[in-house]
Point group: C2
Chain length 242, copies 2
């Protein structure tokens, strides 16, 4: 049996070393962008426009868009919301286009723009994501947003969780050492996930900023069946296009 | 007590995202460059000149140097030796300057040239390396050579082995998620190291090329007390300069 492959890229700065043109790329920024995006669609957002710079976000604001944004974990002073998924649990976003600027997640999306499909992955849509990947049968790259181009625990662990699921399905094989190590990391941590997350830099960073209220929510499986999808310009609810 | 920190960089392509100017950088390319360099000094080499391109290696050859080199695991056709440490167990290298060109290791050395000290790490000089790092007390970055800028198992595991040793010493703390994960990877694998190495891409690559005879040797602790050191131009036997 021919296996489809899955690979893991631990930093957006390494994505050019991967051949992704024909692949499904799964964008991962567990704390907090991809968790937040999944939440926004569950609450009825129409579209999320990833914005690379603070200046661009300000222009969207001036043009009447809802703007959500943070830099280094802190809300931009002109934004309507920060980057907490709890901010998006709000009737106000229903049917709206939202311009969204984050430290790491936005950069990661644009770094992978040449892929066939870029889908948004988080624990919150784990079963929707894995169901799609297994059914679609393309090769996969998990793209971890990391922290300022460096490795982080929470994104790598989530990649490992999906890798472990794909391995158990039996029709996928790891493409590289990174995929093997990510799956092993997950298997070693499974059962005491939150204890491990507490060791991470970003847990400590969010705790210091008193933004740690979302961490457990962002590590909860299957709160939505949405699978947000990047069109090249904006992120929309997948099921309308696939 | 103020702890010194250690960090791990999984790819030479990420080194610019680390502040290394005042640090000890430990260069790691277990299969096979840093294992080979340690072996060369144990056998009396005077100096190893890292060479970035095949053309430059050819020029050294024309100027009468001994040249060792490989690309993608295979010996360069004009070289005296390939990249196997066994090639360097040879009286011919005693007192010699050797121009050395490898796929990943050479690139990694030059990527870190702005660090205070770049030392060469391998299982073969594990105790010499850890003894120096603990005594010297600078912050440390472990720089994995990886495979064509991507993560690899064998370098990350070795970084983890040294991280675990530094943690047990008690005067160092991990600087980042990467350092925590590397140490945990080592702790999970310790006791069945060679089984884990057999899962790696480079094990399979070397096996296919029938170059796998060195893999076990390259995972043997303490065959030398040398700690090779990069001066900015060439690698020399540390104890002459520190």
């Amino acid at each position: 049996m021919l296996h489809k492959s899955f690979d893991v890229c631990f930093s957006p700065a390494l994505v050019d070393y991967y051949d992704i043109a024909q692949k499904n790329v799964v964008l991962i920024d567990i704390l907090r962008a991809t968790s937040t995006i999944c939440t926004a669609f569950e609450w009825g957002a129409k579209e999320i426009i990833p914005v690379a710079s603070e200046d661009e976000a300000r222009t969207y604001k001036q043009n009447g868009y809802i703007v959500a944004g943070e830099r280094d974990g802190k809300i931009l002073d002109f934004a309507d919301f920060g980057n907490s998924p709890f901010n998006f649990m709000n009737e106000r976003i229903k049917g709206q286009s939202i311009a969204y600027c984050t430290t790491n997640g936005t950069k990661a999306i644009f770094s992978a723009a040449r892929a066939t499909n870029i889908v948004i992955g988080s624990y919150l849509n784990f079963s929707a994501l894995t169901g799609f990947l297994i059914k679609d049968k393309r090769d996969i790259l998990f793209l971890c947003s990391g922290w300022k181009n460096r490795f982080n625990i929470e994104d790598s662990l989530f990649a490992g969780a999906v890798c472990a699921k794909l391995l158990s399905d039996g029709s996928f094989a790891p493409a590289s050492d990174a995929a093997i190590v990510a799956a092993d990391l997950w298997n070693n941590v499974n059962g005491h996930l939150m204890d491990y997350i507490e060791k991470s830099d970003h847990y400590k960073r969010l705790k210091k900023l008193e933004l740690d209220d979302v961490i457990e929510y962002c590590h909860t499986f299957d709160k939505t069946d949405k699978l947000p999808f990047f069109t090249g310009n904006s992120i929309i609810d997948t099921y309308e296009v696939l």
